[in-house]
Symmetry: C2
Subunit: 175 residues, 2 copies
């Protein structure tokens, strides 16, 4: 990757496929032998299926679940902010560590939306990443600043969702 | 999966992430030990990265590239239709074979758009699939009939694309 500039990709919108597309990018990158870090900011957004598949890439994939026990529904705002800060500092250290060609910050948008981490601090960190590193941010409701800072933004727009037809979540598809 | 109904998912729109989201679904499903068939209707839409990663799932993943040498730019329409028909018949046989929990029909929408295969024939085949089988269709410009038939439709909407800023395709991200 030396000599090529890494991209900042953003998958947002209300539709399905944001985290799944990030998963697919990891799958693709690891096929090139690239090291990937996946950092999950919302507990449970990565499910059993991908955790099991990830075992086959133990040589290339570093997987981290942040915010253990963090539900975003706490009635203790100070504690929530402290947990978000700890998670974000881990992501910053991962980026600065420069051991990965692709860093996925899954559901990071919520930390901005809920005012946990200043948007500008995130943008500054992503902008100052190692030049060949790709970074992927996912999550609904990406802020205007994140959208402006990204090289590529795809909005996943929901056209139809099976739950609205009364169909329950399916193993292998939803979890 | 016995007892649960499979879903028909459709990823369409002009934005990036359609095929990548299908890849991510395969990754998730295989984590559950589910067998997956990936059928690529446009030569080259699956790139080196995912082909290499797929080797780690040789026990679960059947990967098929259809339309070998088929560019969709041929000046021989009869030959194009014959190649599309052959590819579609392979997909039908794969679905009827019922050996997979997830069947991905990558870029299938073009066969309808270009009038190669009647839309109703595709809808009938997908509707009559084994009841527990999930099927994913990707491609731009999904026809109204496909959208109406799907259980879940996500439109990947392009907000910003790096090529418009003059950035070239990146290994591990685009191919």
């Amino acid at each position: 990757m030396s000599g090529t500039r890494g991209l900042f990709l953003l998958f947002t919108g209300n539709g399905k496929g944001k985290t799944t597309a990030a998963l697919g990018l990891a799958f693709r990158a690891m096929g090139h032998g690239q090291r990937v870090a996946m950092i999950q900011f919302i507990k449970g957004s990565w499910k059993y299926g991908e955790l099991e598949s990830a075992r086959r890439f133990a040589d290339l994939l570093d997987f981290h679940v942040m915010g253990r026990g963090f539900t975003w529904k706490s009635d203790n705002l100070d504690r929530d902010i402290a947990v978000a800060r700890e998670a974000w500092e881990f992501a910053r250290a991962t980026i600065a560590g420069n051991r990965h060609q692709l860093v996925i910050l899954d559901e990071l948008t919520y930390l901005v939306t809920y005012g946990m981490i200043p948007e500008q601090e995130i943008i500054d960190t992503l902008t100052a990443r190692p030049s060949s590193m790709h970074v992927v941010v996912t999550g609904r409701g990406a802020s205007d600043g994140l959208i402006a800072a990204a090289d590529l933004v795809t909005e996943m727009c929901e056209i139809r969702h099976p739950y609205k037809k009364g169909i329950r979540a399916q193993k292998g598809i939803e979890f």
